[in-house]
Amino acid sequence: METRQLDIPVMADLFARNERPEYLFWVGCAGAFDNRYVKVARAFVKVLSWLGVSYAVLGKEESCTGDPARRAGNEMLFHMQAFRNIEVFKQYGIKKILTICPHCFNILKNEYPDLGGNYEVINYLQFLDKFILEGKLKVDHSILENIRITYHDPCYLGRGNNIYREPRDILKSLTGSFVEMERNKSFALCCGAGGAQMFKEAEKGDKEVFIERTEEALRTEARIIASACPFCMAMLTDGLKYKDKQDDVKNYDIVELIAQSLNL
């Protein structure tokens, strides 16, 4: 099969050539640095490019949104990060932002406006769901058709921002065998990593949250646990290893599954 090298457009380069992309793709720290989640960012740009979307990334000019700082109680540091990012957005006249990380999505969409940063912030699942609805993103249904898939709701998409339908519609367009966990949608159990928990050990208890959630996912007997958040991904991957199930059950991000189904 023929392949081609994908060049990721960077905002500063495009501006130097006087080009104005329609969207900023906000990669997020996990998309840039987390070994596992980097693959999700890569899958997403493949899909973007397949769809012919006009976008660019900030590259070295991107910096943490300040979400973990804010949720860890350091409001000062959050404002410093946000101030800096808003200045960069201003400089490039950013109006539309595409995000993959739900934490970045939530803070850019809901909290930056309090600081005067108003953008149309779109989560990648909403974005891709629209293309599917419009018939512009037709996947090869046969690839995942018979694979049982369950979905773990990230708190900051689900309860945080009421995005429940899109991930399910997308997954149902990929597989004929979608299955819910016992606690799903607004009842979904957290993976244990939100609110800056990702960066610390859990408090003393009798179980890790990610194990509780992984066990619930395993009870569905799904072969794939689909997720939509870098922290959830880290937790579920750990959970599968802990349960020694990493060979039988895989954790993929929804956009990785789309890329697979598009054979990209």
């Binding site: 099969m1 081609r4 590259g59 910096s63 804010r70 921002n161 610390k200």
Partner: protein, 439 residues
């Protein structure tokens, strides 16, 4: 006439005590900080219709939720009957609203049915609490007094309903026995009336007065006990829902003064634009009760300790010390403890205790994942993560206290703009060598 006088005096005494309680609580509200401006009246009205009157959130636990909804809707209907009793008591009239005809029949009839249904629901609630081990009703914050509190309120409601149906049944029996016109319809009590057949007119009259007085005195007593018990929620939950935070659950409130400070620091132009007249902030975040917002305090008064929040909390489920219900109950208890002193002696009052550490441990605060399962579940829209983060704000910004790993994360963000130790120069490494199939 004697009945009127006694009734008026009882009513005045109850109202007087109620007024005293209200004033006391309002004086506590004056100690609190601003939360958000109350705008969007229609949106709030809608939330109130849905969540309070529609009971949509309590019905997320459908079976037991329906019993609660029955009690709530029953209370709403029965309130009309209570209003009539108060007018009757004051003016010496008998069923003063009977002139309303069909409307009266509907009010009295549904009140009669609901009285019975509420009684059944309360018996179910009581048996759940007394004979079954329901995990949701347990927890470190649930002391014997909390259980007592619940049982007393339930017993009072049960008595209210028994006296209501008793009154209706005796009335029905008396009127039919003497071929007198019957005002209102009594779909349930007409059957209960059989219990009173064979009794003489005099006995029926006395029984009627006993039920009538029991019912009205219970209402007065109930209304005055509520503010001192967790069942204050009967009064406070509807206002609390009306005054809900309307933002998406994922959104945290902004600290405007911190924002301004950062802007002044980083933007040289801002200094000339914003006059530096902002009032100095006494404290970042929440350490003690005088730092909480009116909304935090209102939440704590409206909480009925149902434990739905704690039962869905991932930290609590996995055995951590955090219990969202405890946080809310601690706010209420701390205000009860420190509030009177603050009202008496002003801000300077100090009892050498604080909400953080004497009530709430850091371990609880750091266990929260801000997943918002608690806030989503709360039947009256209490928001726990907002106050938890506000307490973290105090710990981090005032004391520099946080788990070591979080301090490291914060310094990575400060130094290299990511929560991990990676150079900003490496931010494009992920985008290297992406091969894509052409198809």
């Amino acid at each position: 006439m004697a009945k009127q006088i006694i009734f008026t005096i009882t009513l005045l005494v109850s109202l007087g005590f109620f007024l005293y309680t209200t004033k006391r609580i309002i004086s506590f509200f004056w100690l609190t900080k601003p939360a958000f401006p109350v705008k969007d009246f229609w949106k709030r009205f809608n939330v109130m219709l849905n969540v309070a009157f529609g009971q949509t959130k309590i019905l997320r636990f459908p079976v037991i939720g329906l019993f609660h909804a029955t009690v709530f809707w029953g209370f709403c209907v029965i309130l009309f009957g209570s209003a009539e009793m108060i007018i009757d008591g004051l003016s010496g009239s008998e069923k003063v609203l009977k002139g309303l005809g069909i409307v009266y029949n509907i009010i009295v009839g549904s009140g009669d049915i609901f009285g019975f249904l509420v009684a059944i629901s309360i018996i179910i609630f009581l048996s759940r609490r007394l004979f079954f081990h329901i995990k949701r009703f347990e927890g470190i914050e649930m002391k014997p007094i909390s259980h007592q509190d619940a049982n007393i309120a339930l017993l009072l409601i049960l008595l209210l309903m028994i006296s209501l149906n008793g009154m209706n049944s005796v009335y029905y029996q008396y009127q039919t026995l003497n071929n007198l016109p019957l005002f209102g319809v009594y779909p349930i009590s007409q059957f209960i009336a059989a219990l009173f057949s064979g009794l003489s007119n005099e006995v029926l009259m006395i029984l009627y007065q006993v039920f009538w007085w029991t019912h009205i005195l219970m209402i007065f007593l109930f209304a005055n006990i509520l503010p001192y018990s967790k069942h204050f929620h009967v009064f406070m939950s509807i206002p609390n829902v009306f005054l809900s935070r309307l933002e998406p659950l994922g959104k945290l409130p902004n600290m405007d003064h911190v924002m301004k400070e950062v802007q002044l620091m980083l933007d040289p132009n801002a200094a000339s634009l914003t006059p530096v007249t902002t009032v100095p902030v006494e404290r970042f975040g929440i350490k003690d009760i005088e730092d909480v917002s009116w909304k935090n305090y209102l939440d704590s008064l409206a909480c009925t300790e149902c434990g739905r929040c704690t039962s869905v909390c991932p930290a609590n489920i996995t055995g951590k010390r955090l219990s969202p219900r405890k946080i809310v109950m601690d706010v209420r208890a701390r205000m009860k403890e420190k509030g009177p002193g603050l009202v008496r002696s002003g801000k300077e009052f100090n009892d050498n205790k604080s909400l953080i550490r004497d009530y709430i441990q850091e371990e609880e605060l750091w266990a929260c994942t801000t997943c918002n399962a608690c806030a989503k579940e709360c039947p009256i829209n209490i928001n726990h993560p907002v106050i938890i983060v506000d307490m973290r704000r105090y710990l981090v910004m005032e004391e520099g206290s946080a788990p070591a790993a979080l301090k490291a994360m914060l310094s990575y963000i400060e130094n290299n703009g990511a929560p991990w130790q990676y150079s900003p120069d490496d931010r494009l490494l992920w985008a290297k060598d992406i091969e894509m199939n052409v198809n």
